[in-house]
Amino acid sequence: MYYLGVDLGSVSTDLALVDKNHNLVEKIYLKTRGNPIKAIQEGFKILKDKYDEREITAAGTTGSGRMIASAIMGADAVKNEITAHARAALEFDKEVRTIIEIGGQDSKIIIINKGIVTDFAMNTVCAAGTGSFLDRQAERLEIPIEEFGDYALRAGSTVRIAGRCAVFAESDMIHKQQLGYAKEEIIRGLCDALVRNYLNNVGKGKTILPKVLFQGGVAANKGMKAAFEKELGFEIFVPENYSMMGAIGAAIIAGDQVKKTGKTKFRGFKLAENNIFSRSFDCDGCPNRCEVVKIYENDNILGYFGDRCSRWTGKTNEILGLRSG
């Protein structure tokens, strides 16, 4: 008996299976590459070879593509990233007070008190500090991203790099390189700058109390962890499955949900083989002329996305049998 969680983001698609005690038994990480349908199908192909679909007794989705994911696979819970991350973090450690999450495309802070989220903030605007930005810099410096953190830790001293915005950070780094600073120092300087940027933007006005969990893909970077610890003045913790927390949270929430409904809406692994595709059309309902995306499975419509009113997405909710509240 497993619960499946899918975190569909614009950069990566994560799938997690947890058992009924909420232990992670399977994790799959895929690049979304602008094609969420394909990413999910790929993930399901992998699962199909190892598990029987009847073993999946609950399924949940999260991430910016959570509605699309739920239309494709059938989900018992469709949850925003904040709630999903908080749920997984609390499962890992009940004492957590602050979650620092930096993923491929965005960053968040979640403040928790006595197991309840009391405040949160998200940055979806500025690229500085996200995983994609670090990937890019690693590539530019010709260092494998996995070693980025080690480089930062090896640095004897640090260089001050302007981290307010991704474009400035990059040009400042190039400048410092030309001045002859070592790669180690520059990378450490970059980590410091990104941490300052995070604390001043996402963490603005929030009191960061221990215990702090550092999650999301960027938590793999030891340099970032060290820079946070230096800035905050205490140890922070990276959970073992730091990059899967969204998917794990979605799986657990789905499990809770099925305990109430008694039956899962999960449609099984068969979609891995089905012909799932999207078509878009311009709605002529009003001058907005939204480009609406329709998702099909063979000849059936699974759902509609992308309208500004709920003329089309309302139908999706009917198809999915979801309601709010």
């Binding site: 925003n80 709630t83 006005g205 109430k260 001058p287 509240g325």
Partner: protein
């Protein structure tokens, strides 16, 4: 004579007055459509980059009207209450619009001091004269317009929801559905009722604001701050959502004041500009709802959607 009235900025509050006044003067009143993609895009295209989104959208509305009327009204609202001002962008609005858009018909741009009916009348008189009307005709139209404005009630005060939030921010950010991506409906669909500032009496708003170290210089500050504090303290709402424009000076002041006044009260700020993605807005509102739900009810009560 066709008089064009742009459906932007404070139109949402003062349209009964404007529409009635020009209508009673015998003009054919043409109001721009609700903000839509064309109006929005034109606003972004023609307005200077660093303006706030509501001002940009206002440009789009004037652009929509420019070939459809003989005279366009660009309200230069200076004051709504004595000793207070509204955002400086309103005082310079006509200059911005006239410089950014080409091929406009003549415009009514006289300053509006709505601190008393008498002060407002001087604007009405000038505008009426432009339409070639005499004082008696203007007086009649003006009185009808005031009547229409007085009878007009706006505001939201939902009932029958388990969770209720105060929706704060400038009225155009709250009521322009295109600008805020259907925020009111989104909030309702997630099972939260809304209360807006209009249902709190002026004297209560003023009383809260009087507690500030300095009487606020801006009307928007008094209204939003007073409303937020009063709603929270009197437990009329479970949380506050503030819709704000990037680059808005008054918003940043109000937000800081509310945070200081209510340090532990659930408070969500939604910042909107032309680059804001709907997914991010949805995520924030949904997470806020989950947070309130967990605070108010027990653990097992968690929504399936959102």
């Amino acid at each position: 004579m066709k008089v064009g009235i742009p459906k932007g900025l404070l139109y949402c509050k003062y349209h009964p007055f404007l529409v009635t006044f020009f209508g009673e003067l015998g003009a054919e009143v043409i109001v721009s459509e609700d903000t839509n993609k064309n109006i929005f895009d034109a606003g972004i295209k023609y307005c200077v980059d660093d303006a706030c989104l509501p001002v940009k959208i206002f440009h789009g509305h004037v652009n929509f009207l420019k070939d459809k009327c003989d005279l366009v009204v660009i309200p230069r609202i200076m004051q709504l209450w004595k000793n207070e001002y509204i955002c400086p962008k309103f005082c310079g609005l006509p200059e911005m619009v006239l410089n950014n858009l080409n091929g406009l018909p003549p415009a009514i741009t006289d300053p509006i001091y709505a601190t008393s009916w008498k002060n407002l009348y001087s604007w009405a008189q000038k505008s009426g004269n432009l339409l070639g009307k005499n004082n008696r005709q203007i007086k009649v139209a003006f009185n009808k317009a005031i009547e229409a404005q007085k009878n007009h009630k706006t505001g939201i005060d939902d009932e029958g929801y388990e969770i209720k939030i105060a929706l704060t921010g400038h009225p155009y950010n709250i009521y322009d559905k295109f600008l805020n991506m259907n925020l009111v409906k989104k909030i309702n669909n997630l099972g939260m009722g809304i209360r807006t500032a209009e249902f709190t009496q002026e004297d209560i708003l003023a009383r809260e604001a009087d507690n500030l170290y300095k009487r606020p210089f801006w009307t928007f500050v008094r209204e939003n701050y007073g409303f937020a504090l009063n709603s929270a303290k009197e437990k009329k709402v479970d949380g506050i959502i503030y819709v704000s424009s990037f680059n808005c000076g008054t918003d940043s002041v109000i937000i800081e004041l509310i945070k200081n006044g209510l340090p532990d009260f659930p408070f969500l700020i939604l910042k909107i500009d032309e680059h804001t993605g709907e997914a991010g807005i949805n995520t924030r509102i949904e997470a806020f709802r989950d947070m309130l739900e967990r605070r108010l009810f027990n653990e097992s009560h968690i929504s399936t959607l959102g």
